[in-house]
């Protein structure tokens, strides 16, 4: 019974393909894989916008939007209608073709990133042998679209924002990829399906998720920080919140193209979170062995929602980082820590299981964290501030 519910979408797709004429079967199969992605993730985007606004509001001692629909949950409809009906202004001196293509490229690459995420058991759009490399390749193309948006607006603030955004994204790609290398080393494969299947076992009630190892925990923390930076989310949203009036690289976009940028950015956030779940949190595997009766796709979306909640929490808490603080953090802290995590993962693989393995692998990570952190702050602690003229 639980197996049937777990595989309900797979069986639906197979029966639909079986019952369609032979010439159309490949097309029907491809469409039935792609259309659910195109439907589910934008609806998740709509839900996330309202959850984010209400969550941030509650953190800030206020209500969020609560006029449209029960508790404001139909607000995304109002926002969508508004952005659809706004006038689409293109600056007169803008590069028309590039200006038009930039949001399209962003949304296209964002959707492409979902094709290698295993959403449930046997539920993946494309089972590539090097799925993880595909993901990083497509997110590199996403950076290009942000540059196109900033350049084509012929606005020096947009250009500056785009340059900063691209610099931020390429700096954080290095720790992102290095922190996923440790998982690839442990799983021995670049295929996302294989990585999840390696994590789907249980010893007792505890799962084999990679986040429950010292190098996996460090790698997961680094991956999540780099993911926040890659999706230009607070506290790394300098490119888009620059002086809070000039919106950075999408200043000159209005109406539906602005909505497409937002959509692309949030979809990118979901995709990279989904990759983090696949690599570290066991993908669609249940957290405890007695919970495997819950369908696998529910676990994936539950983990995705929890991580989105964590993103919203961090957004409501931390102030924005300055550009030089951001770059220092990426190159001076995260990159060395990623290398230490890879070292630790390597040691883990060659030692026999036991407490000693835990201690030996956790030691370099803790030492690195403490010492690099101390070096980064320049040896000065934060003292209590003295306000000379206030007393």
């Amino acid at each position: 019974m639980t197996q049937a519910v777990d595989q309900v979408f797979v069986t639906l797709k197979h029966s639909a393909v079986f019952h369609s004429p032979t010439e159309l079967q490949p097309a029907v199969s491809i469409l039935l894989s792609i259309v659910p992605v195109l439907v589910v993730f934008p609806s998740l985007f709509a839900v996330t916008t309202i959850l984010e606004r209400k969550g941030l509001a509650r953190i800030q001692n206020r209500y969020g939007p609560n006029r449209v629909g029960p508790f404001g949950f139909l607000q995304p409809l109002a926002d969508g209608l508004k952005s659809l009906t706004k006038e689409d202004i293109v600056p007169a001196s803008a590069d028309k073709l590039v200006h038009f293509l930039a949001p399209l490229l962003l949304v296209m690459t964002a959707f492409l990133e979902y094709s290698i995420l295993p959403i449930g058991r046997n539920m993946i759009v494309a089972d590539l042998d090097s799925g993880v490399v595909f993901f990083f390749a497509v997110s590199a193309a996403m950076e290009l679209s942000i540059f196109m948006a900033g350049w084509s607006s012929r606005n020096k603030y947009s250009l500056l924002g785009a340059m900063r955004a691209v610099a931020q994204m390429i700096s954080y790609e290095a720790p992102l990829i290095l922190s996923s290398v440790c998982v690839i080393m442990a799983a021995g494969s670049l295929s996302t399906v294989q990585i999840v299947e390696k994590q789907a076992g249980y010893s007792g009630i505890w799962p084999h998720w990679y986040v429950l190892t010292p190098w996996g925990f460090g790698g997961f923390a680094l991956f999540m920080i780099a993911a926040t930076a890659e999706s230009n989310r607070s506290p790394f949203d300098l490119p888009e919140g620059e002086s809070e009036i000039i919106a950075g690289y999408f200043t000159e976009y209005s109406g539906f193209k602005f909505a497409l940028f937002f959509l692309g950015e949030y979809l990118g956030m979901f995709a990279i979170t989904g990759l983090g779940i696949t690599l570290f949190l066991g993908g669609w595997a249940a957290p405890f062995s007695f919970l495997t009766w819950v369908p696998s796709w529910i676990w994936f979306f539950a983990k995705l929602l929890v991580l989105i909640g964590v993103f919203i929490w961090i957004r409501g808490t931390l102030p924005r980082l300055r550009m030089d603080q951001l770059m220092n953090f990426a190159w001076k802290f995260m990159l060395p820590m990623a290398l230490v995590v890879i070292l630790s993962a390597g040691i883990w693989r060659f030692m026999p299981a036991g407490v000693l393995r835990w201690l030996v692998c956790a030691a370099p990570i803790l030492a690195g964290y403490l010492f690099i952190g101390r070096i980064l702050s320049g040896g000065q602690g934060l003292e209590k501030r003295i306000y000379r003229f206030a007393e």
């Binding site: 509650r58 953190i59 929490w313």
Partner: protein, 187 residues
């Protein structure tokens, strides 16, 4: 240690988030106009003219002395004194204003007119939802619009109104006692 401040910050925001569902002080929004904040008693917006009793013409306390018109800093009060007289609260014959206009687009709510009025005839109102679609005529309020009963004054400024009523009753008693004393002294 690196990250300690972030952890404390995250704990604080989590406490705020969960507290906003249970505690009053963690969700301080007052959803105007469905909910309203209680205004303090000394709230003031624009002036109004007090009348005693039920008749807004005969009970009007204003005697058209024009002190408020002179003292008003932006000069937004326009008074025309009447030709004849009418009895006031103590029965004495007094002038009354034929026209008493206040231009509320100019009025700066400084309350000087209230402070200088010797007859407690003009007081500050608390109503602020006053939008109109006529910029000039809609904001030049005539005497009919400005006159409000003493019971209305009690409802918006109870402590002040009670004090004013006590003072006026005292003055009335003194005024009534004087002719008696004068008659007694004359005898």
């Amino acid at each position: 240690m690196l990250g300690k401040g972030i952890a404390k910050g995250l704990a604080e925001t989590a406490r705020n988030f969960f507290g906003s569902f249970v505690a009053e002080e963690r969700l301080t929004t007052v959803q105007f106009p469905d909910e309203r904040l209680i205004q303090p008693e000394a709230t003031r917006v624009f002036p109004f003219l007090v009348y005693d009793g039920a008749d807004s013409e005969m009970g009007l306390r204003c005697v058209a002395c024009k002190i408020c018109e002179v003292e008003c800093p932006p000069k937004c009060i326009y008074i025309d004194k009447s030709a004849g007289k009418k009895p006031d609260y103590a029965g004495k014959q007094q002038f009354f204003p034929d026209k008493f206009d206040i231009d509320v687009s100019v009025c700066m709510s400084c309350q000087i007119c209230v402070e200088v009025c010797p007859f407690d005839a003009i007081k500050m109102d608390t109503a602020f939802e006053l939008s109109t679609d006529d910029r000039f005529a809609g904001l030049m309020w005539p005497k009919e619009r400005l006159a409000r009963s003493n019971s209305y004054y009690h409802s918006i400024h109870p402590a002040e109104a009670t004090e004013v009523d006590a003072q006026l009753a005292e003055k009335k008693a003194k005024a009534e006692a004087k002719p008696v004393a004068g008659a007694a002294a004359a005898r």
